[in-house]
Amino acid sequence: MTRNVDAIVVGGGIHGCSTALHLCLAGMKPVLIEKDYAGRHASGVNAGGVRQLARHIPEIPLSVRSMGIWERISELVDDDCSFESYGQVLVAENEEELAVCRARVAELNALGFTHEELIDAAELRRLVPAVAETCPGGVVSRRDGAANPAQTTTAFRRKAEQLGAIVREGEAAGNIRHSGGLWHVDVGPDTYAAPVLVNAAGAWAGKIAAALGEPVPVETVAPMLMITSRVPHFIDPVVILRGRKLSFKQFSNGTVLIGGGHLATPNQDRNETVLDWKSLAISARTVFELFPVMRSAMIVRAWAGIEARMKDDIPVFGPSSRHVGLYHQFGFSLHGFQLGPGAGAVMAELIVNGGTQTRVGDLGIDRFHPSTL
């Protein structure tokens, strides 16, 4: 049976759920199609960083837009998403790194962005008392923080459904095609038809784009994370390092999340990842050196979520360069979680109004068009 809806969103990550929710707020009736369940992959198992800090310049406007939504997240989804805002701190471990930080902040200020702030050793020690004495400073983004990714994605999904979105979980979107002016997508025995199709399928989105004639340089990656047993409270902000692959966050229950981008081997077809313990050991060594208080903590669990990384490390966001009614929202390259709420809002504006006040033009898929490469 074919059901007509206003939009078809493929992918139940934070982005698909957020776009479905914002389309509902704009008075549309979308269907959200998720092959597993909402938040099954990267959106549900990432580090939960709500970070404007250290972003690529083309995506900063979207990140700033998103931050405003995060700060009122309960009003939007009726769930606090365990969002907390103790800032995020980028630690420079030596003077060379601090010089890079200084140049970066100056560059952002020149562009009119003020969320990143250079800090000296004293302020660093005030924010992160446990950090090694040798670190000369860093950068802070004070409004940043962290949230529970699975709780957040689930909350967006739930709210979208409450507002009228049809949520189909457990069966993949199949046979995506355009005919008679509408996009058609099969889900099991059902077919949905709509003038709008949003490709928010995460690690699976590159295939969809390619099948629709818009191949992009994207790979599937699985960044690893590990979490420790509870240790006494010693740190509030999220800490990332300038020179090494490490991010670090202590939750209110005392557990500490250690990440930083070391990669597992993904097996996309099996929904599976094989962890690389020798790389995780590098993260453990870094923490061991920087935070002596962590040395006796137990590693309780390690995992990796499957996601898409673009060759140029910034997402594909906006209308298709080939097809009317097709929109892309994928390739967030290990830093898409914070962008989710804002990206959904902006995507809904692009779909409903045909434009947005938020500058996202540098993220379009046309940057990979053969004529521009």
Partner: protein, 472 residues
């Protein structure tokens, strides 16, 4: 003294030195394959033959003849060339057959052509009101203390539950002069009728006479209340009394120690974390790996033997261990298999050992009220989540154990769901009107047992790193 594995790669690595692991390692070493046996305990034996080489209990009838059968397995292993490392906790196994093992606070990595997982069984959770009070423990924990240290209870002791191990433990405690005030038997009356069609096989099984004489021995000395349909423990910070309902009548008995047991279930954590497919077993009410006749799992190169392959008891575990090892030898060194017992003989041993199992599984199938708690009863001990919390989360959209993590952190504590996983699956299945198979289980992750950050930090750098440094 800490002994690291002698090599980086083996033909066969066996994990667990219970009956299945001992038999498997001895078999593959006998065939001349390089064999490493990794075991978490201080000596061989697993749970059933715990402390077989070191128990202070030397009078053989105290632990029973079946216990001492373990000594032969240990002897066969020691006569072989298998490399054996105890106090070795395997904390990761993946589909590339890479194994991470913690030995004396240091981790090592080894690889294998074949891995035989023989990680045995765990006691089924028994989530009654008050089960987390100090003074309430599992029968298995009591048996561990008995076998390794000859410790038996001397306060007011109750044993509640059902199953062959419960009667074995009661007999062992009594033989050692320990105290048991009362046994509260929770076997459902209807189970006797359900089990009847399978009784003939059981009558001809080795369990029958042994089981009957053990129950007779215990019943001669201890009051047994049968048909218990409700059970709860209470006390202020410490167990004070146990209440139960039998025959519609409620009784409360003062108590210092309550030992709970309602059977054992496969210890699936390591196999599941390696990606081995498991299915819900409707009779045994637990997850069991999907295996072929040789014990080979859905992950190429990983076989599972012993109770981890589905509860079958010690004799079946020995047979399965030999079958899995023989199959591995046939695959890796076909010529060497000739010197081993033929597969047909091993399969006959297994069939004999499994006779009567359906009867036991049916008779001792635990009742729903002791598996699926309600109200304020704790489900997840690590995060203190109650049955009501789980149901509230289902009501607002949690559809399975993995989604529940987002709401309640169940299964995310150090036990990785060992104490709550089955309860959560069955509770959610009941609440959502689905089968446990449809509801699923926690996705399990390494480290299967926690390791310290310092230990992980001390892991040798990868070859690529070493090369990078050498290249400068």
């Amino acid at each position: 003294m800490t002994v690291a594995p002698k090599r980086e790669a083996y033909d066969i690595v066996v994990i667990g030195a219970g009956p299945a692991g001992l038999a498997a390692a001895a078999t593959s070493a006998e065939a001349g394959l390089s064999t490493l046996l990794l075991d978490e305990n201080i000596g061989p034996g697993g749970q059933v033959f715990r402390a077989i080489g070191s128990t202070p209990l030397t009078e053989r009838n105290q632990l029973g003849a079946d216990y001492w059968a373990g000594a032969d397995l240990v002897q066969a292993l020691r006569a072989s060339n298998a490399e054996v490392i105890h106090r070795a906790t395997v904390w990761s196994l993946d589909r590339n057959l890479e194994i991470a093992v913690s030995i004396g606070g240091a981790s090592a990595f080894v690889t294998a052509q074949r891995v035989i997982v023989a990680t045995g069984a765990l006691e089924r959770p028994f989530p009654i009101p008050g089960w987390t009070l100090p003074g309430v423990m599992t029968a298995g924990a009591a048996q561990t203390m008995l076998k390794s240290s000859a410790l038996v209870p001397d306060g007011r002791t109750l044993i509640a539950g059902q199953g062959p191990l419960l009667w074995l433990l009661a007999a062992q405690i009594l033989r050692l002069g320990g105290r048991i005030d009362c046994i509260l038997d929770t076997t459902e009356r209807g189970n006797y009728f359900a089990a009847l069609p399978h009784a003939f096989a059981f009558l001809t099984s080795p369990y029958f006479t042994k089981g009957l004489s053990m129950m007779r021995e215990v019943k001669a000395k201890v009051q047994v209340v049968s048909g218990v349909t409700e059970l709860s423990a209470s006390g202020d910070g410490q167990l004070a009394s146990v209440s139960y309902v039998a025959g519609g009548k409620r009784e409360t008995i003062p108590s210092d120690l309550l030992l709970l047991h309602q059977g054992v279930v496969p210890n699936v954590n390591l196999a599941m974390s390696a990606g081995v497919e498991h299915r819900w077993d409707e009779l045994q009410l637990c997850w069991s790996p999907v295996l072929d006749a040789n014990g080979d799992s859905s992950v190429a190169g990983i076989a599972i033997a012993g109770d981890g392959a589905g509860i079958g008891g010690a004799s079946a575990a020995v047979a399965r261990g030999r079958i899995a090892a023989r199959a591995a030898v046939e695959a890796l060194a076909p010529a060497a298999a000739a010197k081993l017992a033929p597969m047909s003989a091993l399969r006959a041993d297994l069939a004999k050992a499994e006779r009567g199992r359906i009867f036991l599984d049916t008779l001792f199938r635990p009742s729903p009220q002791f598996r699926i708690p309600s109200g304020d009863t704790i489900v997840c001990r690590c995060e203190e989540v109650t049955a009501r919390d789980v149901l509230d989360s289902v009501a607002i959209g949690a559809t399975g154990p993995n989604q529940l993590k987002a709401y309640r952190r169940t299964g995310m504590g150090p036990c990785q769901g060992r104490l709550c996983g089955l309860t959560v699956t069955e509770l959610m299945a009941q609440a959502r009107g689905k089968t446990p198979q449809e509801i699923g289980y926690y996705r399990l992750r390494a480290p299967v047992k926690p390791i310290t950050l310092a230990e992980l930090a001390a892991v040798p750098k990868s070859e690529a790193d070493v090369k990078a440094v050498v290249r400068g």
